[in-house]
Subunit: 362 residues, 2 copies
DNA sequence: CGGTCCCCGGAAAGGGCTTTCCGAGAACGG
DNA sequence: CCGTTCTCGGAAAGCCCTTTCCGGGGACCG
């Protein structure tokens, strides 16, 4: 693996080929030290600034490093220091705007601290999620942020908790987003109150018959939003008992299918609430395809207020979540909290944003 | 830094506290070896499968690793092996669907090979871009994929090339997307032919007066698309000389501003071509705000065919680029090519997709 | 001018792993 | 039954750094 390597100082002076120094493999600290005529320790100290070094030497090391284009080996540094400067981020899918917004927030926070992020996307595959936690742990990421798991599988959740315990025991800090009771720091949106407020607004608009495009049964976010929505209806005196709830999977296709079914079944609902925007977009497309006009024939509301919403016509009513903030908060929790501290849960506000997709029913 | 650590086998047998082993820091291979009663070398061989190990030992190592929840230190492995299993990906912005689609393609390819990806986003900051190349290099990423730099600054490009040369000299493989002549592998879309075809289609629709919302002057992608567009016009017998070209920055806001200016100036164009979809979306919003109907008052076409386009009304005519493929191809180039091979440039096709935002002028 | 302290350079001991090298025993062939 | 070849364990050398530990000057003080 290691190719034969000659001292660059020695090599250069001999004439054993063209001047083009075609070397393979990075420059080593020892070479810099040799080039500068100082010891390895001195070179290390100059470059990492761990201790003051006298000017004559200092200058020469710096010059040598520059000339040789030395780049420290971060992996070796991590090993030697016993601490890495990378953060792991596990999300569901980069293409989903919900996740990419969160990822953006995380990355901002991470980059501010001069750290780097490992990104992994699970694509809803629970096994991949577990594998990634392993991988991240193996890379000794100093913090791990998880915003993926949309599983309702109890066994999987337990395995995840187990993995996270292992990670924590190994000295890592973890934070999850939009999940709970995982024994880690958590950032959870006020799903319930957000949905409750939304329901109230919708009732105030005059709606009485609703359909909900929910997420997977038993999934925290979906369940909370559904519960909140029901509470809101009840609070406004609408009977939540005959609320039509269809369970989907949080994806666009899911939203499309659900909405199509709604249309096919001749649902009497005057207002449809999709528990996340991605499904709402799918529903919007399905309605359009079926010739159902939004909001004329049916009102439509989503949740999350993802970025692409702004270009949709009609603009979609939603419940705004500060996605980037959520990512940032999670990163802060994982990075700025002392290890061994009891885990914290940060709640973030959700705010109803009424837009063109909802209006008073005909 | 290193906390005092006692041999776990020895420790456990004594009764010096509750059974709960609260240790901080990861389990070491040496501990696994001790626990299994074998040498470090044997444990390493079993776990990495680098050489066959007799059954009695093999089983015990595996059992010990499992019981102790050992996770190898990937950083140390990388140092020892002299090769890391991480890939660097530098993009402009995770939130921009153009980049996240590409990132998705890269990640698919990377994860297929059981590697992990470092993601960095430059946010258009050229200095950050250079820094990130450094960082990636420092982490000894085995491949580096860059899809960022939207700079037109010659000096910066030179520095980038310089950095990339350094990276290559250190044994790394790099691939860039939508850039050229950087001395690395490259994946470039057929910007020119795509735009040319688009222009021809638009002329065939009956348009004669066009405005182009271009990107930064001198940026490859923008320039090529503009050139191609001109060629298409000429080919169809439309004089490209009086083509109105406004230069923007590829962002949504830029598109909005440009379109607003267009409206304010009372442009006679019946068709507007935004050289990327993100600007096209901005323009669409601006037109809508200004009461200009698309496509009734003006036709609008974009380029890239980014994902959120499907939810826009009217659906946007664009030139489809296989973004995920492009990312995947770049990853392949960087990962599957022998080092020291002359760099390849892969061209990917661009295909015009006519949709509702363009129609015959009134 | 002797003693103390401090500054700074180098040797060497790590950090957690892989891999080479060696040697002991088993298996095998003649 | 002996020599050869294999197989497989362990010791130890490496991978590229950081950091501790020392020791040799100088500065500074009395």
């Amino acid at each position: 693996m290691t190719t034969a390597r000659e001292s660059s100082t020695g090599r250069r002076s001999e004439q054993d080929g063209p001047t083009v120094v075609r070397r393979t493999g990075p420059v080593l600290l020892s070479e810099v030290a040799a080039h500068a005529g100082v010891s390895l320790a001195t070179a290390s100290r100059v470059l990492s600034g761990s201790r003051s070094v006298g000017e004559p030497h200092r200058g020469r090391v710096l010059a040598a490093a520059q000339e040789l284009r030395y780049t420290p080996n971060a992996q070796a540094q991590a090993v030697a220091r016993g601490a890495s400067n990378v953060v792991g981020l596990i999300i569901h899918d980069v293409l989903d705007p919900y996740f990419s917004s969160i990822a953006g927030g995380v990355m901002r926070e991470v980059e501010e601290r001069e750290l780097v992020v490992f990104l992994a996307s699970t694509h809803s595959d629970v096994d991949r999620e577990l594998e990634f936690v392993q991988t991240m742990r193996s890379h000794r990421v100093r913090a791990l942020i998880i915003c993926g798991s949309r599983t309702t599988d109890r066994a999987h959740t337990e395995r995840l908790v187990h993995e996270l315990e292992g990670y924590a025991a190994a000295g890592g800090q973890a934070a999850v987003i939009s999940q709970d009771r995982l024994g880690t720091h958590a950032v959870v949106p006020q799903n319930r109150t957000g949905a409750r407020e939304l329901a109230r607004e919708l009732v105030r608009l005059g709606h009485r018959r609703f359909a909900v495009l929910a997420g997977p049964r038993g999934l925290l976010a979906s369940r909370d939003r559904l519960t909140g929505f029901r509470e809101g209806l009840t609070a406004e005196g609408v009977d939540a008992a005959d609320l039509l709830v269809l369970h989907g999977d949080f994806t666009r296709e899911g939203g499309e299918q659900l909405a199509t079914r709604l249309v096919a079944d001749g649902s009497p609902a005057t207002c449809v609430f999709a528990v996340n925007d991605v499904m709402a977009l799918g529903a919007l497309a399905a309605f359009r395809a079926a010739g159902v006009r939004v909001p004329d024939d049916v009102s439509l509301a989503g949740f999350d207020d993802i970025a692409p919403l702004r270009d949709v016509v009609p603009s979609l009513t939603s419940v705004r979540l500060p996605l980037a903030e959520m990512g940032a908060r999670a990163a802060q929790l994982a990075l700025d909290t002392e290890p061994q501290t009891p885990s914290q849960t940060v709640k973030v506000d959700a705010e109803v944003v009424l837009r063109g997709s909802t209006r008073r029913p005909a």
